[in-house]
């Protein structure tokens, strides 16, 4: 390495010039699953696997959209980048999972005009209507203030990390690979949220008051994360999915540690009510999701044959 180059630009010696073609996710290849064997393993139903991947993908996608809304609004520019980075990690997971879903059951992909170049994962993200979204209601809630977003991120990343850790052993190799990659990302997200949670709890009277309001608003949506659903249960039986209800123990233990460090007792709030025992995983959402989708999907829908 040439020392003079070092001094001209500190980044000259840092960036791996050979690896530029994939410096950011999705910038250098069209099909995120190119070259990957997407054949279904014995006993795994394609439609079930597709629905399950859509659930995991929608959690990530909708959470990404909420995190992206912090751009230009975060309290410090460093936090803005941190939140955007976390969102981009989740967007990468969503893209792979939606592509996996489309490969497992092509009939779920919305039909687009003849000749549209929109790939299947984009069609699923931008051309599905609200009832077809399978995300938990926790991720769709409006951002609120910083304390609210941190509290939601703590709950979501703790749940998702526990799920992905177990999904690394899924009998679907694509799902297993996506989960294994995601574990490293979620470990950082959870650490970020937990540190800020403890910081806000131990900060000023005002920061603690806001955190208390955030817990009251967010925690009613935590129970839903662990509700079993039939699609998941059928896939658990064939070793492809993780049973959400078994993640509660780890969730309570991790969150319990954070609450203890914050000198707070774990909240005892009533779960948000279900609609005829249905919720986000069944396509029943809060009003917040319709506004979110209108914003997220409007440009893509205005140009269904556009090339980006």
């Amino acid at each position: 390495m040439n020392r003079h180059d070092d001094q001209a630009s500190p980044y000259a010696g840092l960036v791996d010039a050979d690896a530029h073609d994939q410096w950011a996710f999705g910038t250098s290849f069209d099909d995120p699953l190119a070259g990957v064997d997407t054949t279904l393993a014995d006993g795994i139903d394609g439609a079930d696997l597709a629905t399950y991947c859509v659930m995991l993908a929608d959690d990530a996608l909708i959470c990404t959209q909420r995190l992206a809304q912090w751009c230009t609004n975060a309290p410090e520019i460093e936090e803005e980048l941190a939140l955007a980075n976390i969102g981009l990690d989740l967007l990468g997971q969503a893209r792979l999972l939606l592509a996996r879903a489309a490969a497992a059951d092509p009939t779920i992909v919305p039909a687009l005009p003849e000749g549209s170049p929109v790939p299947a994962e984009d069609a699923l993200a931008f051309f599905r209507d609200e009832p077809a979204f399978r995300c938990v209601r926790l991720v769709e809630l409006a951002n609120g203030d910083f304390a609210h977003s941190i509290t939601r991120l703590l709950a979501f990343s703790t749940f998702r990390l526990a799920a992905l850790q177990r999904l690394g052993g899924s009998r679907d190799p694509v799902l297993a690979a996506v989960a294994t990659k995601g574990v490293k990302e979620l470990t950082y997200h959870r650490d970020y949220a937990a540190r800020w949670f403890i910081t806000l709890a131990g900060g000023t009277g005002e920061s603690r008051r806001r955190l208390e309001q955030a817990i009251t608003a967010v925690w009613p949506y935590v129970d839903e994360l662990f509700r079993p659903n039939p699609v998941e249960q059928r896939l658990v039986a064939v070793g492809a999915a993780v049973d959400s209800s078994t993640l509660r123990g780890e969730f309570d233990s991790v969150v319990g540690q954070v609450f203890r460090a914050s000198e707070w007792s774990p909240p005892t709030v009533l779960p948000a009510s279900l609609v005829a025992s249905r919720s986000g995983r069944d396509g029943i959402h809060t009003q917040a999701l319709s506004y979110l989708l209108a914003e997220m999907q409007s440009v893509a829908r205005a140009h269904p044959t556009g090339t980006w």
Binding site: E78, L81, T204, E206
Partner: protein, 104 residues
């Protein structure tokens, strides 16, 4: 700037400044890449990760409070550096470096 928070604790409106040094995958030394604000040392390290290594630039980060850096003064530039400008014999350019000596 400081003001009193709602519970009377003195709160600083601005986080202190930190300088960030990153070592790349092929780099041998940490290189100064910029600065950032953070409330404490641990947060500075995480901010550095988020701000300066998001394109896979680094394998190691150092952060140090800008206030802890002792810098030479521009006014002292001549007495500090000019005397070494004409001492070409201090450069190891008058003999061949063997191939087996790396990083020179």
């Amino acid at each position: 700037m400081t003001h009193n928070g709602s519970d009377g604790i003195e709160v600083s409106a601005d986080w202190p400044l930190y300088e960030v040094f990153v070592r790349g995958k092929r780099g041998l030394n940490h290189v100064h890449v910029g600065s950032l604000h953070a409330a404490d040392d641990e947060m500075a390290l995480r901010h550095a990760r988020d701000v300066y290594t998001r394109r896979n630039e680094g394998v190691s980060i150092w952060v140090v409070g800008s206030a802890n850096i002792v810098a030479s003064s521009p006014a002292e530039k001549d007495p500090f550096f000019a005397p070494s400008g004409d001492k070409v014999y201090r450069h190891p350019t008058f003999y061949d470096i063997p191939d087996s000596v790396p990083h020179m």
